[in-house]
Structures are given as C-alpha cells and as structure tokens.
C-alpha cells in the first residue's frame, strides 16, 4: 500500500490500517501507557528466577532452570528478585501477584513453587515488550519436571547439598 492510498481512505479504514500495522500504537505509546490493556490468559510454564535467566550471570538458560538451579531460584525469590513464568513458547511472564498475595510478601507462597511447572490463570499485561502476569489461580502444579542437575550439577556449584 502506498502513502497516497492511505490519504484517500476513509477515516475508519485508516484507523484500521494503523491498528493493524502497529504504527499508531507506537506513535501514541506515551499516552497509551497509562491504561495498559489486559487479557485473561492461562499460561503453562516453569517458575524461574528472572535475574539469572536473563542476565546470563550463572551461564546459559539451560543451566539456570530446573532442578540444577532450584536452590538458587529460592535464594533469588527470597531476595526479592522478580519471579517469572517461562512459558513453553519461551515467553517470560513477570509475576506481579500470586493468588492475591503481593510478590514480596513474606508468606513463602512464591518460594514453594520455585522451579515447578505450573499452569497459571490470570491477568496478562504487555508493555514495552515485557509480559506481566497477575496470577489469580495456580490451576495445576506438575512439580519439577526438568532434572537437569543430572547434567549440570547444582548451579551455581555452591548451591548444592553438602555432606553432613
């Protein structure tokens, strides 16, 4: 479509074009941000420590998930680092609430599900490419399904069990 074609469109058709291409969304981002749209979603994925996963500080993504990284994930969640859900398609959802609890509440709910594969239903927000999730209900918990400590050992090494 040429620019000239847009100029002879009716206003409604032009709006449709802008919405479809995302141009209007980008152009108006400053005002649109104040009222981020949300939708209800059901996401299945592993509860992860976002810092180690995104920063690469402990190694590649395969090593900072699953059983290998379980203790470190607990440390990070207890340390107040945002917890995420790594969906099966690779999308990371930053958890902003968990079943009514604030993410930094000292209730341990968010610690108890670290590294588990959960199915979470909740409100999804997307802003500036970051996905956020207000988990209303954990509808299923499959526990830890990635036994990668068999390949990597504990990540980091000092997070593993010690002889008594």
């Amino acid at each position: 479509m040429r620019l000239g074609d847009l100029l002879v469109m009716g206003t409604d058709r032009a709006k449709t074009f802008f919405a479809a291409t995302g141009i209007a969304v980008a152009a108006l981002s400053g005002t649109a941000m104040a009222a981020t749209k949300s939708d209800m979603v059901e996401i299945k994925g592993e509860v992860i420590d976002t810092w180690c996963y995104l920063s690469g500080v402990m190694g590649g993504p395969d090593a900072v998930t699953g059983s290998a990284h379980h203790t470190c994930a607990i440390w990070c969640a207890a340390g107040g680092i945002p917890v995420g859900v790594l969906a099966e398609d690779g999308t990371i959802y930053m958890v902003l609430k968990l079943e009514g609890e604030e993410p930094l509440a000292q209730t341990d709910s968010i610690l108890k599900i670290q590294s588990d594969v959960i199915t979470a239903r909740g409100q999804h927000y997307l802003r500036d490419g970051v996905n956020y999730l207000v988990v209303q209900k954990v509808v299923a918990n499959d526990g830890i399904t990635n036994f990668n400590h068999e390949d990597y050992g504990p990540v980091p090494p000092f997070s593993g069990p010690k002889k008594k």
Binding site: S29, S55, G56, P103, F147
Partner: protein, 198 residues
C-alpha cells in the same frame, strides 16, 4: 480535491510516522554517557544513566495502586523520561541475590536519576531489563548506592545474625530446602547426587 478529512488523515499520518521514528530511536538510544556503573559482563550489558520516575509496576499497568507503592511488598520499576518506557528493575547493586524494591521504595513516584546496567537480549523487550546500582533524586548532587536489601533483611530477621551470607541464615530459605531438598526433588535426590559425585 483534497477534503478536510484528507488533511486530518495526512496530519495524523505525518505525526504517526514521525513519532514512531522517535520511539524507535529512543529505544535504541545509548544511555552510557556519564555512567559510573560497575560492569558485570552480563548478557548484552550496557551501562545506562537516565532519569525517570519510580513506579509501582502493577499500579502503572492496571491502576491497582496501594499507598506508598505497596510499602515494600511490590515490584517497582522506572518509567524512563526520554521515551516513557517502563523499565523492569531486577537487581540492586549487591552481589548476593538481592532485588531492588527496598532501594527504589524511598523514591516512590519521585523523579530520579539512576545509574546501572541494562541487560538482556530479547528483541521484543525494547527497554531491556535493569540492574540499578546508584540512585538520587533529580537535582541532588550525591548518588546513593543501592545496597539497602541486606540491611532490610537484618531488620526483618532478628536472631539470625552470624557468619556467612544472608541466604545461608535465612529461615524462609532453610524451610524450603528442608521441605524439598537442594534440587527440589527430596532429600533422597540430594543424597544420591552426593554419593555419585564423591
């Protein structure tokens, strides 16, 4: 003949293309000028000093806004002044698994300058993620290092003083490891790993 409607559309088009260009430019902007941030060698790390406003992320997104940005119970972020992008802050400057909410909370809804590292290689995350190392109110001369987490932990955990890092003494962490073991698969899995890796 060009009608008023066409002129309106033409104006909107011009604004849209211009502003989308601005957004694109700002997203790829270099914020490293003047930064004193310590390098960590992280994924796609960039030093970044910028100004913005500290916000309660959920409040910013949804309008669910408790007093004082949630008083330390919520994750906080920074809306960058230059491009209005919401920056998700993952870390403070400390090296022991510490988030940044305690360091950002005193600046709730205030205009600040921050210095730290943008990280991450996800193309769709235009603003990247942030490790805040220093913060100050806009207009202040002195920077504050973001190291409040461990002090706040000590305040919340009287009786757990001792040697070693906080995560070795934290009762919440200890309870989880006691319940599920170090790999989350029970103590038998821990024992098996130890036996196989003597």
């Amino acid at each position: 003949m060009i009608s008023t409607k066409h002129i309106v559309i033409r104006g909107f088009l011009a604004a849209a293309f211009t502003l989308s260009g601005v957004v694109g430019t700002a997203s790829a902007a270099d914020y490293s000028a003047g930064s004193q941030a310590k390098e960590w060698g992280l994924t796609e790390e960039e030093k970044a000093l910028f100004s913005g406003k500290v916000v309660d992320i959920l409040c910013e997104l949804s309008g669910d806004c408790p007093d004082s940005c949630g008083n330390g119970l919520r994750q906080l972020g920074i809306v960058r002044e230059a491009d209005n992008q919401l920056i998700t802050v993952l870390k403070n400057s400390q090296a022991a698994f510490n988030g940044a909410a305690d360091d950002l909370l005193p600046y709730c809804n205030k205009a600040v300058e921050v210095d730290g590292l943008l990280i991450g290689d996800l193309e769709e995350v235009t603003a990247k993620y942030y490790m805040v190392q220093f913060i100050r109110n806009q207009g202040d001369a002195d920077w504050n290092k973001t190291n409040l987490w461990t002090k706040e932990w000590a305040r919340k955990n009287p009786g757990h003083e001792g040697k070693g890092p906080w995560f070795r003494r934290d009762p919440r962490v200890a309870a989880q490891i006691e319940a599920r073991g170090h790999f989350g698969l029970g103590h038998d899995a821990d024992q098996k790993y130890l036996e196989e890796n003597e």
